[in-house]
Point group: C2
Chain length 420, copies 2
């Protein structure tokens, strides 16, 4: 046999079993988003590269972008995240849209990373944003949704934590240490990768940016700060979070949280596994007040987050909390007794479907009944119907319950009632 | 103001209004597929170009492919259709899969075509396939689903028609006119574009393939044939279709139907607008018995179809049958009376959500009540709740019905009951 052409590295096939999990997650996300009044949107997955330049993460654009050229020679990118598309859509219609924009989406994105456990090159991301208000209450709402999401996955605050910080507060602090405006972003990037590098490397990287030893020490001290009262913004957010019931224990202040995206202006946050299973952020988010104006539109401040499907699956597996879901099957399989009687089976199947009963009809005329029963069993279809010569003569049907291994001879009406 | 970075030509933004239509269509498709026992699957949208070479349509690959290179220099393609991915997935697991494979998917695909009404470069496609059986009954099932789909869109058999033919029958006929094996596929392609070219051009194209004038006349006559009794395969399909109730009038035999995809082996069909609105096929499908073996797997015969979202929208608009659907809103907006009372609003919103009531909370503290009511009205939220100093004092809430323009003062329990 020839070799089967392989799938592209880092992509996934969603067989019905995997699709059932994706749909389960999507339904959770839809329900939760709608609980807070968010409406579903979607954009193209192809965008002009310009939409991302100088806005998204530098690392993503330089090393992880899937790009192609259109026939006019313009560079396109397969979206590595959804926020810039969202910002473009808002900017295009800013005048007609309501004052508070609550939208969510669940779609594909691509990054050219090394595939590993919990990370692929093609993934799904839930993007949820609140645009318009520039208030700590807006940020608290997104954070509350983040905690509600973790709860809906059945993850407790002993297992996961949402670490929150404030970039503008950090910026003020760094400036008070004598850092210039130009040093801020490079230093942010170094802080962002702090837990991936050694303390030595961290100090060397800072020195390269012209940070003095004394300044480095101050930064080090700042990063272990537990008290956020110097940020009125964060103080208000945490006050609000306290008012939501049963979620406050998911949150803590953590000044090492920066996020890789350049567009974040104020609040930034990341959800983390408190255990040892998942050593990267589960997901993150933050406030981006200038993104719509950066892409050429009016300024519309906003806050949002983007949990992905890989992390959800890995953390659920880690804590033994993967839901037990199977693909949906038909309620019944109508078997075919022999080619002469196949029309009886077809007519019955059509009638059952008309009565809104999900009905599968065996399609290969020549198969033995055994094979058909085995098929129903393998697929998890609970009932089969047999129409042999006797049943055809009497206009009755034998209904077999596969798990109970019982069977009865019924009329069409009786079967319809039973399976409805 | 700078210019807003534009979306890529031929792509669409799905604002909540457009998304509501896409979700409506997706739900119809899901419900219908499950009615026949089909399970949802999905694949990557990126595949190696090899998966398509010599299988899909030559036209698509040569002129309409969105391709890119991975970092090892291999050519990737953004899927122009879903069937080859489906075949790859089946080929990979052919041994473990059940004898009859009923799967469907609803996903994006890309073709570099000239955008026009009812056609874009990025579109959504419902792919539904039945693999395993090589029987006319299997083809009849897919055709029945096609008719059921048109019915579920509220399109009558006076408005649309499904034209069915049989490539293997056509092949035998062409051979009986003296055509060689090598002439068949080129002649098929000419027949496929017959209604896009003049009669003169048609004859010229045939002559170029070495078809004699006498043969061309025979082909011409064959293409106007209304009787399909020479094809036992088609005869059996139409017999089966007669047994399904209320769909037979959607079908007719049409020997000009060929389809552009190279992998079709036997049955081919296309749905067409009987009116003048949509001058291309609405969608098509057919039997492909060799696709899994062509990509390196075992032979698994199959039949399927792939209706797209563009055509559905255009035909519904043409016949004035677009559904009246709005994006889902929250059941209620909790307004904020003033910054001091915002915590009362937040606490109420959290309680309503806990009671499974979809609740939006105004997020900007400083807004006037008027502005908030206008917002709810614009978004179509049916109720708003007001918590002023009096309500806060008495632990009551003013519930306003925006369409009835009425209001009442209620307790939390009363509100919860009313909105549940």
């Amino acid at each position: 046999m020839k070799q089967i052409i392989s799938p592209v590295k880092g992509t996934r096939d969603f067989y019905p079993e995997q699709m059932a999990f994706r749909n389960w997650l999507y339904e959770k996300i839809q329900t939760l988003s709608q609980k807070y009044g968010y409406q579903e949107y979607d954009g193209p997955v192809l965008e002009y590269l310009d939409l991302y330049t100088n806005k998204t993460s530098e690392e993503i654009l330089k090393t992880q972008a899937f790009t192609l050229q259109d026939r006019d020679g313009r560079s396109l990118i397969l979206r590595p995240e959804l926020t810039p598309t969202f910002a473009r859509m808002v900017a295009q219609k800013a005048e007609q849209l309501p004052k508070e924009i609550r939208w969510f989406s669940f779609g594909r994105a691509w990054r050219y990373e090394q595939p590993q456990k919990g990370r692929g090159r093609e993934f799904f991301q839930w993007e949820i944003n609140l645009l318009g208000p520039e208030s700590p209450e807006a940020d608290a709402e997104i954070l509350a949704i983040a905690a509600d999401y973790l709860k809906s996955l059945n993850l407790t605050s002993k297992e996961v934590v949402i670490k929150v910080s404030d970039r503008s507060f950090m910026q003020e602090e760094l400036k008070s240490f004598g850092l210039t405006e130009e040093q801020i972003m490079p230093v942010f990037r170094i802080i962002d990768r702090k837990n991936k590098i050694s303390a030595e490397q961290f100090n060397q990287d800072l020195a390269k940016e012209g940070i003095s030893l004394e300044q480095a020490k101050k930064i080090e001290k700042l990063l272990s700060e537990k008290n956020f009262s110097k940020s009125p913004w964060l103080s208000k957010i945490f006050e609000s979070l306290k008012l939501y019931e049963d979620i406050f224990e998911y949150f803590e202040f953590d000044p090492t949280i920066i996020r890789g995206f350049d567009y974040y202006t104020k609040t930034v946050f990341e959800a983390w596994d408190r255990g040892e299973g998942f050593k990267r952020a589960l997901f993150g988010g933050g406030r981006f007040d200038n993104l719509t104006s950066q892409i050429g539109g009016p300024k519309v401040p906003g806050v949002g987050m983007a949990p992905g499907d890989y992390a959800a699956q890995v953390i659920l597996e880690e804590y033994g909390k993967m839901p037990n879901i199977s693909p949906k099957t038909a309620a019944v399989l109508v078997t075919v007794f022999n080619p002469e009687l196949s029309s009886e089976s077809l007519k019955l199947a059509a009638k059952l479907r008309k009565a809104n009963i999900n009905t599968e009809l065996w399609a290969e005329n020549e198969a033995k009944l055994d094979k058909q029963l085995k098929y129903a069993d393998q697929k998890g279809i609970p009932y089969v119907i047999i129409i042999g010569p006797e049943e055809a003569e009497n206009k009755t049907y034998t209904l077999k319950n596969l798990s109970a291994k019982s069977q009865e001879v019924l009329s069409l009406d009786e079967i319809t009632r039973k399976l409805s």
